[in-house]
């Protein structure tokens, strides 16, 4: 009995992957019905296989992985790809010609014109007798060359080589686009690094000045807090910091603000110790707290309450910054966050929102709960791990 059950288990374990594999293989074979349709599908499929390796630009690794598919597209005996300096890959028959391939491409790299070559070879059985060299261009600049070799360079092969080169060009342009987008994102993240407001510096210094005569000890403490705060905010290295560091800086900021406003500003912090080591974008909470202080206090007389909560939620950390001030019109806020209108109060929020989206993806943008006269609550979610995000 037990052996039967055991055998059944093994049978299931073996047969399920086998069935899945068979379905996958069968699914591929069923593509297309007529020969023409099938040929089209196969060509498109080959092209789609050659595309991704080229999306990293003209590199030896990418060219090598794409070359087999490109040769299949061309139907040539051999294929070579060069950039401006050297041969990147030689694929196909007649390896002994690999050394000459860059020489064949030299003229094309120079003037950017297609050329047809006749190749001398002493080996009788070598299929490589003629070659077509076409330029690869990006932004009307020749960045490399593609050479197709065969027994004879028919008009068909020339035409096909030109078409394939055009297709490769478009892939390389996409690669260039990818690269510039990446550069742009990096530059943006750097540029978006929040700056502390000049008003705050000015106000802090005036507050401290007011204590210098009446309470010199306190003035000294506040000045040291201010020094620590600015040292942290002006630091140059690293895009990321830990939540603990960020909260420490916020604490210094709040100390200075409370020295200025006294009992008018009441702050509650509830921080789960589990989330303190989480890596966060540098100064990503500071603008939110600044906003809350301004909204909670300056727009009405009386006492402003601010609550900062950081909670542990499995693979994420949830942070909320809440004030009981005047609140905002949700529609207006939405437009500020979308960058349609600029407002001095929303700049910090929009900035943080954009940076979080850049780093973690769109699903990690700010979520703001607000209404006229109902206060404002800004929620931030931060994943505990994200590839490439680390404090050091």
């Amino acid at each position: 009995m037990e052996y039967v059950v055991g055998a059944a288990v093994v049978a299931v374990l073996v047969s399920v992957p086998a069935i899945v594999l068979w379905r996958v293989m069968r699914g591929r074979r069923e593509l297309g019905t007529s020969p023409a349709e099938r040929a089209t599908f196969e060509t498109l499929h080959t092209a789609s296989l050659a595309g991704p390796p080229l999306r990293a630009g003209l590199t030896a690794d990418g060219a090598e992985r794409a070359s087999r598919h490109l040769r299949e597209l061309l139907g040539s005996s051999a294929l070579a790809i060069t950039d401006r300096e050297r041969l990147l890959v030689y694929d196909g028959a007649g390896d002994h010609h690999a050394g000459q391939a860059f020489g064949h491409a030299a003229a094309t790299l120079e003037d950017g014109r297609t050329q047809v070559l006749t190749i001398d070879c002493d080996l009788l059985e070598c299929p490589i007798r003629q070659g077509v060299v076409v330029p690869l261009t990006t932004d009307e600049r020749v960045v490399g060359a593609l050479a197709a070799y065969g027994p004879n360079a028919s008009a068909g092969l020339v035409r096909a080589a030109q078409e394939v080169a055009g297709w490769v060009d478009s892939q390389l342009e996409l690669a260039e686009l990818d690269r510039s987008r990446t550069r742009l994102m990096e530059a943006e993240v750097r540029a978006l690094r929040a700056q502390i407001s000049p008003h705050f510096i000015y106000n802090s210094l005036t507050t401290i000045a007011s204590f210098v005569r009446t309470d010199p000890e306190r003035a000294r403490e506040l000045l040291l807090e201010f020094a620590d705060f600015t040292r942290y905010s002006f630091r140059r290295h690293g895009e990321y910091t830990t939540l603990a560091e960020e909260l420490r800086s916020i604490d210094r900021y709040l100390t200075l603000e409370r020295a200025r406003f006294g009992d008018q500003l009441q702050v509650t912090l509830r921080i789960a110790p589990e989330v303190l080591p989480v890596a966060v974008p540098f100064l990503c909470l500071q603008p939110l707290v600044e906003n809350a202080v301004r909204h909670g206090l300056e727009s009405r007389n009386g006492v402003g309450r601010i609550a900062i909560v950081a909670e542990d939620a499995g693979a994420e950390c949830r942070i909320s910054v809440e004030d009981d001030g005047l609140g905002m019109d949700p529609d207006r806020l939405r437009r500020i966050l979308a960058g349609e209108i600029s407002s001095s109060s929303g700049v910090g929020l929009a900035n943080v929102d954009e940076r979080l989206r850049q780093v973690y993806g769109d699903e990690y943008g700010l979520v703001v709960e607000t209404g006229q006269g109902a206060g404002t609550k800004v929620n931030v979610r931060l994943p505990k791990y994200h590839p490439g995000v680390s404090t050091r």
Binding site: E2, Y3, D178, T182, L269, R270, E274, P277, A315, S390
Partner: protein, 495 residues
């Protein structure tokens, strides 16, 4: 009395889950709040989550049945942290990974490896949860006479409600408290039991097979030597692959603190595991006739002391047992649900709810349907799977530059697959007779070497699949945090 104790534990768990520990602090206390969790607290929390029904009940039962051979079980479960301390804890913390799939992605830069690791995490979690539910059923039956499914269902429901309501997620202090509760619940009755034993004239282990019980490999188990070595391998190397333990290391602020925490865990567990061994030995003296040996911890107070005191002590031990079921199960459920939601479903709050139900229902189904093995044996199988999949991944990933994506994948598939196959065969069809039975019941001795070999061999065969950022990752894993070196910068995900 015992029922009341169980109810108190359950209600307390639900209340903590529903309301959480909401202590507000004003800014003046902020520096206290900002201090990160200390290694002692963190280690207690790890102990609280780690000491499951298998440790609380199972070890004593197995020692009672099979003798001193089974001492390897608590030794291995503690010793696993030694391996973790030496080879894994600090580099893992420095990698910044929260879960095992995170580490796989960070080190090997491949989503395929990440997904494979996720599937394995889920399988190990299920395998570990199943015996928790099963023993909850057994314990509830022994104190109330309720059917076996009732206890498992009760624990499953409480855990699901708790996790869904957001409580008991990973509040360090609650989990740390669980460790001390479990320790007390075993230690206090034991003091009384030892006093009763002395008053009784300190009787030795008696019976025909007393000699065999007291010497290694004398328990009459077939292939005892092989099983022992296999068990040692599984427990020493499996601990590092347990999903609910590893997420705790993230709470440490740096690699150094992670090492310290591991060291404290070692001593806490060492202290705890003395107790079940004594229970097993007392059980051999006073209750060698027990049929369901997993219940020896609960049965001894009645047998040796009796009366109201006996009742009270039983109640305390039962409360400890349910605390063990709840803490381990909720820790596992959170980890498994997190991985299901993030990697196998779409992510987000809704997915997490669905994932929580999946994380609880599948092992509950298994617990009700599969045959009841001794709880410590099933947990041992979970260790075997972890040892033959994540141990090679972590050890080679941290210490070997030439590990390739393909190699890691092949190793995970072969090692994890073989171990899972053996486990399924044992749980569903076993136990088998003869050498095949021993190989299937304790697979680690052959699956772990195979997994390592496959991972290394395939890596050698595919040298071009070494992840491009390996040098930088290695610097990040091994350089102490206060060393100023280039650890790489953030780049947008390429696709």
């Amino acid at each position: 009395m015992s029922l009341a104790a169980v109810l108190v534990v359950m209600v307390a768990a639900v209340l903590i889950g529903a309301f959480g520990i909401r202590v507000s602090r004003t800014t003046s206390d902020f520096y206290v709040a900002s201090r990160t969790v200390s290694p002692l607290w963190n280690a207690s929390a790890i102990g609280g989550e780690y000491l499951s029904a298998a440790s609380f009940l199972g070890v004593a039962g197995l020692i009672l049945s099979y003798g001193v051979d089974m001492l390897w079980l608590p030794v291995g479960w503690t010793g696993g942290y030694l391996v973790l301390l030496v080879l894994v804890s600090a580099p893992l913390r420095r990698s910044g990974a929260y879960t095992l799939p995170d580490f796989a992605e960070a080190r090997l830069e491949s989503m395929t490896v990440r997904r494979t690791a996720s599937v394995l995490v889920v399988l190990i979690g299920w395998l570990y949860l199943m015996p928790q539910f099963q023993s909850a059923g057994l314990v509830l039956r022994s104190i109330t006479g309720a059917p076996v499914w009732a206890g498992g269902l009760l624990v499953a429901v409480v855990v699901a409600v708790n996790v869904l309501s957001g409580g008991m997620r990973s509040i360090t202090f609650v989990q740390a408290f669980q460790y001390w509760l479990k320790l007390t619940a075993l230690a206090v009755p034991l003091v009384f039991l030892l006093m009763a034993w002395r008053d009784d004239g300190a009787p030795p282990v008696t019976g025909d097979d007393a000699g065999a019980w007291l010497v290694p490999l004398g328990g009459g188990k077939e292939y005892a030597l092989y099983s022992t070595y296999s068990l040692i391998l599984a427990t020493f190397l499996g601990t590092m692959g347990l999903p609910h333990v590893l997420v705790r290391f993230y709470t440490n602020p740096d690699g150094r603190a992670a090492r310290r925490t591991t060291l404290v865990v070692l001593s806490l567990l060492g202290a705890f595991y003395l107790l079940p061994a004594l229970y097993g030995w007392l059980g051999r003296v006073y209750a060698p006739d027990l049929v369901r040996t997993d219940e020896v911890v609960l049965a001894l107070p009645q047998r040796m002391i009796g009366g109201t005191l006996g009742d009270l002590l039983t109640a305390l031990a039962t409360a400890g047992a349910f605390a063990a079921f709840l803490s381990t199960s909720s820790g596992l459920t959170v980890s498994v649900a997190g991985v299901i939601a993030q990697d196998l479903l779409k992510g987000g709050v809704r997915s997490f709810r669905v994932a929580t139900l999946m994380a609880v229902v599948v092992p509950l189904g298994l617990a009700l349907w599969a045959r009841a093995l001794p709880v410590a044996d099933v947990v041992g199988l979970a260790f075997a799977v972890a040892a033959s999949s994540f141990c090679p991944l972590l050890v080679l990933g941290i210490w070997w530059r030439r590990l390739t994506t393909t190699g890691a994948l092949a190793g995970l598939f072969v090692g994890g697959g073989l171990a899972c196959g053996a486990v399924l065969a044992t749980v569903i069809g076993g136990p088998y007779e003869g050498p095949a039975g021993a190989l299937l019941a304790q697979p680690a001795a052959w699956t772990v070497p195979i997994a390592f070999t496959v991972m290394v061999a395939v890596s050698f065969l595919t040298p071009d699949r070494v992840p491009p950022g390996v040098a930088r990752t290695m610097v990040r894993l091994h350089a102490p945090e206060d060393l100023d070196v280039d650890r790489g910068d953030w780049r947008p995900r390429s696709s």
